[in-house]
Symmetry: C2
Subunit: 348 residues, 2 copies
């Protein structure tokens, strides 16, 4: 990749914007020296921050705007009155071909609504979804939807499966990613209708998808599959439950090490291993949720992250752009559409 | 409690039945010396096991039956052909007033169907639910439904809230348990319709319920509330996701301690604290899911548990019986019914 990649940033999204955005971009520049940045936001706040990062400033163009989307804004409000917002203008750069991807740590609902309105969905995709990467006992697993679609029919779930498959193949670099549908049991008759119907379609499809069938909640972190497909309500609850459980466990671990002088001493010896363990679960490492199904790469950073987390979100966007994510997604959905439109040949 | 409590056991339910059932009862007898047991199952297998526990044998009556419910039996099959099964006969003892509660480690779907058919639901309850206890950063939280009802309307969720409240008050011993509805955000407009409607009803109710409002997945293990209310699909996924995450974390912790001689040495010093930590998360401690809403106490043990786990499930049944769970539940549902039937008085 010798071509310069341009990433567009909503400098005003997130709890500590624009500081974490500028500092995150400075870190990302070190890791990806070929990337250039377009920053949208309040120049009076951005300029002094950029002054501290001359190497970043050299590859960055700042576009001033006073308008921004607030965390409490409803998606409809954002769409109506956010025309000049830093978020929308950053997305427009992707639509207009000036940037390969956009990253924002702002309001998720507004970002999804705005990105859908500006970029449109890829042909054949009814609803975009939010995907994330989760650490597992084996490696990493992608999960979608994480909250964009709280009710899903079988067709939505099948589309999520295809989107997740392309994502795992291109960004996670897996040759034949294994897809699982989240359910409350592995038997055919288990679960809600949409899930059972989606499984039936995925079992029959001629698309080259490796479909494992149903998986259960404990399979997510066990790493039983590479892509977990579920509706946005269940996915959001499962993700946050996993995060909450890991955080409870690490709190108890800290407490255990502090509970006696013997265990304090034990910690001194085991410190390096424990630090590695903490790094393994560091939520900043997994920062950067992908809005999949849009005609453009959009990455959502956690609003409360710091510069390390934001730099990782930029890294996700760079990976997706470098791997030609949108082109591969388009190809796969063309095949899916062709299959749906042509009656299946009689077999056997 | 000087009266003798009788607990009825399905001796043939569970992966290692009847062994774990008999040995679990022997352990439970030590903890609850006033309890007597009725055992249903294959006497040729039960008798030699009981011979090894003469103190248990002295307080146990064995009723022989050849028939049993298999794990793979559908609830409808179990209902149709399980009339003489150990599971059904054990439940019948509760209906007939010969036992205060029944415990089974058998097929969950069959147990729920059979218990509902034999015991019926309490007046005012449309659907029974499965409740469990989860360790949290603060203490313990009850969660329901864990899988009995995969789709729920607002009324079901409100009834689960009332059932959970009674459970937390009587069995967990909390004076004013706090109830939360699981959702994907805390704002009023978030989530599916049934959840939003249920919240509206719980906010308005004249029942003396402390309703926190919406909670998110991470709140479950944070212990933000004492009772987590959700549909059986989401609850099942959340519970298993939490279990899976804890198990992944403890696997990584073990690995970290083994990763160098320094950390191995550290483990030696911290061993006692680490053992306490393991005990805190021991799933056997939380074994025993409650089938709530039935006209009788029914406790479901995990099918794969051992005698310690099964003894804990018996302990849950003993607690519920000793605390007059069914009577308190009946009272509360009478109040709820009265409220539903009488139009709310105009206020303010």
């Amino acid at each position: 990749m010798t071509d310069t990649l341009v990433i567009s940033l909503d400098a005003m999204g997130g709890d500590s914007a624009p500081q974490i955005v500028v500092e995150g971009a400075a870190l990302a520049r070190e890791r990806h020296p070929d990337v250039r940045f377009l920053l949208y936001g309040d120049e009076t706040k951005i300029a002094p921050l950029l002054d501290q990062h001359p190497l970043l400033a050299a590859v960055t163009t700042v576009h001033h705007t006073d308008s921004l989307i607030r965390n409490e804004d409803k998606p409809s409000t954002a769409l109506r009155s956010g025309r000049d917002s830093s978020m929308r203008l950053a997305i427009v750069e992707v639509r207009d071909g000036h940037a390969a991807a956009v990253v924002s740590a702002g309001n998720t609902g507004a970002l999804m609504a705005m990105a859908k309105f500006v970029l449109k969905t890829l042909p054949g995709i009814a609803r975009p979804a939010i995907a994330g990467i989760i650490p597992t006992a084996r490696a990493e697993t992608a999960m979608l939807d994480l909250g964009a679609n709280i009710q899903c029919d079988a067709e939505n779930l099948v589309q999520f499966a295809v989107m997740g498959e392309v994502f795992a193949r291109t960004v996670l670099g897996l040759e034949r990613p294994i897809i699982g549908l989240l359910n409350i049991g592995v038997e055919d008759m288990k679960g809600v209708e949409a899930v059972r119907e989606a499984a039936a379609i995925l079992r029959e499809t001629r698309l080259p998808i490796v479909f494992k069938g149903f998986i259960e909640g404990n399979d997510i972190t066990a790493g039983t599959v590479d892509v977990v497909v579920t509706d946005g309500f269940t996915g959001n609850v499962a993700l946050k439950t996993a995060e909450g459980t890991a955080s409870m466990y690490s709190g108890f671990l800290k407490e255990a090490f502090r509970s006696s002088w013997m265990s304090k001493l034990g910690y001194l010896f085991a410190r390096r291993s424990m630090q590695n363990l903490r790094t393994r679960f560091d939520p900043r490492r997994y920062n950067g949720a992908m809005l999949l199904g849009l005609n453009g790469i959009v990455v959502k950073s956690h609003g409360g992250t710091d510069e390390f987390g934001f730099a990782n979100a930029i890294g996700v966007a760079v990976d997706m752009a470098n791997h030609g994510f949108i082109e591969k997604m388009t190809d796969d959905f063309n095949s899916l559409q062709a299959e749906v439109n042509s009656p299946k040949e009689a077999t056997g």
